[in-house]
Symmetry: C3
Amino acid sequence: MSGKVWLAVDGSLARVTIEHPGKHNAMSRAMWRELRAVFEQIQRDDALTAVVVGGQQHFCAGGDISEYAAFRFKEASLRDFHENDVWGGLGAMLACDVPIVARIDGNCMGAGVEIASCCDIRIASDRARFGAPIAKLGFPMAPREAALVMRVVGELTAREMLLSAAVLDAGEMKQRGFLNQVVGGDLLESAVHACLDRMRTLAPRAARLNKQAFRALALADIEHAATDLIAFAYHYADSAEHREGVTAFTEKRPPRFAP
Amino acid sequence: MSGKVWLAVDGSLARVTIEHPGKHNAMSRAMWRELRAVFEQIQRDDALTAVVVGGQQHFCAGGDISEYAAFRFKEASLRDFHENDVWGGLGAMLACDVPIVARIDGNCMGAGVEIASCCDIRIASDRARFGAPIAKLGFPMAPREAALVMRVVGELTAREMLLSAAVLDAGEMKQRGFLNQVVGGDLLESAVHACLDRMRTLAPRAARLNKQAFRALALADIEHAATDLIAFAYHYADSAEHREGVTAFTEKRPPRFAP
Amino acid sequence: MSGKVWLAVDGSLARVTIEHPGKHNAMSRAMWRELRAVFEQIQRDDALTAVVVGGQQHFCAGGDISEYAAFRFKEASLRDFHENDVWGGLGAMLACDVPIVARIDGNCMGAGVEIASCCDIRIASDRARFGAPIAKLGFPMAPREAALVMRVVGELTAREMLLSAAVLDAGEMKQRGFLNQVVGGDLLESAVHACLDRMRTLAPRAARLNKQAFRALALADIEHAATDLIAFAYHYADSAEHREGVTAFTEKRPPRFAP
């Protein structure tokens, strides 16, 4: 059976499922392209307020190594794979303005760590394991992926994963600042739902503006980015949700935000 | 009663108190302007060696929402509030060369997290709670404030606070690298004093030079900042405190630094 | 007895020893120059796959203060010391493409923290203590050193160490993200060996490429650095170790990488 990245939309919630039976949800080239298409569709859908990304039993165990001999040993096709297929998918996730929650169980390795690094909130089961042991396969991490992992996983852990092939458990990754929450395996679904329920009541346009600001600030010299952002940062002044949020607080009632 | 930001100077120590009775020390527009004036005064006072910032029972619960309807729904007045009032206060704290200790009890939310992020050392009681649930009020964080919080609170926690309105306790914020120390509520004052006592004996000009370097390095491309800093980094060579510190060590006696 | 930085090569492993008897391995000017020479030699040796840096009982207690009166009180000689001697040594470590493991016991202060910050993986005994109490000596940290420490130790801890002369134990430094692992003192050697054994089997050229990428990404605006790196990032496509790693995985056998 070949793998697949699924999108299911339920009201204002999008659920993205990474599925590759028998391969711990490893990403094939086709799946990277599906990941891109799925997140481009999510980005176009103004009715969405949250996305959850996960897989059955495992989050994602890495790349689908059975495909590697076909393209990895020529520079042009290797570059095409990393810059277009992989970064196509990860870049679409990073460009997505809708908040993304990672639901992480089992193996989260290589490509799994990269996909999780594109999420805004990461909740893991205590069975989850993390690493990027690609030095066992004789190759380094591609530059954009290394920049992403170094920023989100942290330099200490990125160096340990890549230079010593370390595999770390969920508790350790929580302590190192990669995970927001770690729960027992049978509590994972309810912990993710509690977070999504909290997000559902929040102002959806404010979330998109916050994500745009985080993205600009993460990528660029902070002083320049802040100056650029200020040009449009306050356009929301007269928006319905801004009025509703402040007014509801004043009237001591819960706000009602349209997605 | 309206709020107030107080400054009290006791020898080489400045104590800044955020006070807004009945509002958990929420910041009004006037208080942001007072915060700026207070820190501009501190910066001009060469006799100071440390500042401690705090409030009674609570650190600061956010902005004073009762004022919001008067200015938040027009872009020009909203921008004026964030860029001049809020950033006026936070910018004066960030521009202050005297080391600042945050003494954090109770609520530390929104504006409170921003003010604490401008301090050099953060000591909290185990009753302290942290968050920035402004998405409940229908608006995003302003760019300079988002840049500050993202850098100091960390991207993981900044995203969780802004995108899911999470409120985190002091233990969690210690684990996530925002707090230097968490103590039982009745030990907060003595923990802050122990830190201030340690700081009182240190070279005050060295502290100012270190803060200037941290500021330059945090804001700019690190390689350029280091190159710029080197132009004046070693002017202190012949200073009295440099001689006193090294000489006292050699003579096995405590150094005596003039503030 | 004067101090010395030793290099011993054993097959593909380099062992660097910081030794200054009676001074807890404090760095003299001569030792900084030896540190540079040692790492320049390591960098030229294509047969090496890992370096371990450490000292007897202590890692390194700082600079050799007994030399300070001879050069610290003139700006030109002070600058020469920091920019040429100290940064000569630290810069050579940072420029080294071979993975470096710090083996940290006892005092790791000032220069010790800086040397450890140039390592890729840091394993400490629970007896190790960390700090940079140079404000007791009346001087600030030099800019390049402050940039290094702020990035690797983290801004929270860098400010606490420099502005309040705090000394932190190994458990606290693990929690703050500076250490990969803390073990009981008599398990330090075996923990370091376990890490080196894991590294020995990994692809050595991939490790060098990963270190080059981390270095470029840490120093520069990330987007520009990634773009520059892409120019040569995929030259390894046809390399022997890339083929061997992927092929060995496919053939379900351990890879055999030549150093």
